[in-house]
């Protein structure tokens, strides 16, 4: 199957900074792909190169089989990008903005689809309002709508939920899922790892311009198996024991890292033997945040 996005050995420098250092990545049609990494890892640069906003120093990129340089017109028609910054043109209303954006993609009469996008993003009542008068959240919705006007098979969202309230975040998640169900490939960068864990089938992690992890969300979580045991006990010190490792402590609340469930019984038995009484007890599986931190620390 042809990848929705194929990134091959892409390098990009800004002066002495190596923003992308030989990135290879394939994102398949129908995926919700999460691109994670700390600030300055190269996520936005990678998106910019895919979208043609920046030019790679070397390597190649294809969107639905179209090279982003050689066949830039076809590649850009296949791609919808929601930029990270909250940018807008203050001269126009929401509807005018979307009509103009449609025209930029060669679509003249796009009223029915624009109405549908406005409805799906809860923007219908704001259609004739000037962009300046909208709240930050509403402007963010318009950015998503602008990326959708030409019904691109691949949609890239660069931190779409940064700085938005819970309600909008959830409505954006719902919208992204519905787009994905309709067959759109979604590429998402985010700092909210909970969001990536919830939405993405597959995750790529970037650090210093290199891909340091690339796997399904399920595999990433399983490969970094382990459990966290939170205990509130009747003392402020736990007995020294090689069977567990204390990750953090807050007075009488201890967080222990366990390798597996079998270790749980050994820890509890050891505490009983030492005469430690357990007041509260909570077992947590590892989350993507933990996986992320461990991968970033490893590289």
């Amino acid at each position: 199957m042809q990848p929705a996005i194929r990134i091959n050995e892409v390098r990009k420098c800004y002066g002495t900074l190596q923003a992308l250092d030989g990135v290879c990545l394939e994102i398949m049609p129908g995926e919700i792909f999460g691109l994670l990494g700390p600030n300055g890892a190269g996520k936005t640069t990678l998106i910019s190169v895919v979208a043609g906003l920046a030019r790679a120093d070397s390597g190649s990129i294809e969107v639905m089989g179209a090279d982003v340089i050689v066949e830039y017109r076809r590649a850009r028609r296949m791609l919808g990008v929601v930029p990270q910054e909250l940018v807008f043109d203050p001269f126009f209303s929401v509807r005018e903005t979307l009509e103009i954006q449609s025209g930029y993609f060669g679509i003249r009469k796009n009223g029915a689809w624009i109405d549908e996008i406005l409805h799906n993003l809860d923007l219908t009542s704001k259609a004739d309002d000037n962009m300046r008068s909208l709240s930050g959240g509403m402007k963010r919705r318009v950015l998503v709508a602008q990326a959708m006007v030409h019904k691109p098979p691949v949609i890239v969202l660069d931190e779409p939920t940064a700085g938005v309230d819970v309600e909008l975040r959830q409505s954006l998640w719902k919208f992204m899922r519905s787009l994905n169900r309709e067959g759109h490939t979604i590429v998402l960068t985010t700092h909210y790892l909970e969001e990536a864990e919830l939405l993405c089938n597959r995750i790529g992690m970037l650090k210093a311009g290199k891909v340091v992890a690339l796997d399904s969300t399920k595999n990433l979580l399983e490969n970094f198996s382990g459990l966290y045991l939170k205990l509130r006990v009747d003392c402020t010190e736990l007995p020294a024991d090689e069977s567990f490792h204390v990750v953090s402590r807050d007075v009488d609340l201890f967080t222990l890292r366990l390798e597996d469930f079998q270790q749980l019984e050994r820890v509890l038995a050891g505490l009983r033997r030492a005469g430690v009484a357990i007041r509260e007890f909570e077992l947590q599986p590892p989350d993507l945040e933990e996986v992320f931190v461990r991968i970033m620390n490893r590289h």
């Binding site: 043609g52 906003l53 028609r77 203050p90 025209g103 060669g106």
Partner: protein, 251 residues
């Protein structure tokens, strides 16, 4: 064609939506120039026989407005889009550099001609003006505004902040326009300044445009047309190269 027409329409709307600032204000400024200068100098300055100074001034003021507004249109549009970041909406779609160039320059021509027509209609009532060769006047108005539209694009692409664009406007465009013969004939200058003025391309635009009214000019109109036409070819080539390379637009 839809892509090009949309970009052109958007650029046209952009200045038309703020027509008080982009059209009405320069017309008022030109009326003030005419009233003040013609009252002060009408009886003292004679350039062509049977042509009052006020009548001589009108074509110059019209063309000055055409040039300054054509430059302002493309340059301010680009710099605003760059500074606010909304240029991304034009960089993400499949707009070719030729469509980009064509739309911005044509919109500049449209604004230049709109303001120029407005200045002409507002000032023509104050003076007794003939139009002896209207086609020459139209040709110079279109080519002049296209030149400045392209130059505005170059300035807008080069500038990274409003301050730099204002410097370009105040230290390049304004002196070249004022020293091009808007308010005087070259023949009234000392020989050295006459020679230097021939290196100012704006002089040929205004002189050729004035020929369309009076049938008389400092330089032969065909020479002026050739200079202005060549200038447009050079500026267009430079602008297209910048747009194609993505200079200061795509990293």
């Amino acid at each position: 064609m839809t892509i090009f027409l949309t970009l052109l329409h958007k650029e046209f709307l952009r200045f038309w939506k703020v027509a008080f600032q982009t059209v009405a204000a320069p017309i008022l400024t030109s009326i003030l120039y005419l009233v003040i200068f013609s009252n002060a100098l009408d009886s003292r300055v004679v350039i062509y026989e049977n042509v009052s100074y006020g009548a001589f001034l009108v074509p110059g003021l019209v063309m000055m407005s055409v040039l300054q507004n054509a430059f302002a249109n493309s340059s301010s549009s680009i710099i605003q889009s760059k500074v606010t970041g909304n240029i991304v909406f034009m960089l993400l779609p499949p707009i070719s550099y030729i469509e980009f160039f064509g739309a911005y320059v044509l919109a500049s021509v449209a604004r230049g001609l709109t303001v120029g027509s407005g200045v002409f209609l507002a000032t023509v009532w104050f003076v007794d003006l003939q139009i002896s060769a209207p086609l020459w006047a139209v040709a110079f108005a279109i080519l002049g505004s296209a030149n400045l539209g392209a130059l505005g694009l170059i300035a807008g692409i080069w500038a990274e902040k409003f301050d730099q664009l204002a410097a370009f406007q105040n230290f390049v465009i304004l002196p070249l326009t004022f020293l091009s013969g808007v308010f005087y004939s070259l023949k009234s200058l000392p020989p050295v300044w006459q020679t230097l003025s021939h290196f100012n391309p704006f002089f040929y635009v205004i002189d050729g445009f004035r020929f369309g009214f009076f049938g008389a000019s400092d330089a032969a109109p065909a020479v002026s047309l050739a200079v202005v036409g060549t200038s447009f070819v050079v500026l267009s080539a430079a602008t297209l190269l910048l747009l194609k390379s993505g200079y200061k637009l795509r990293h």
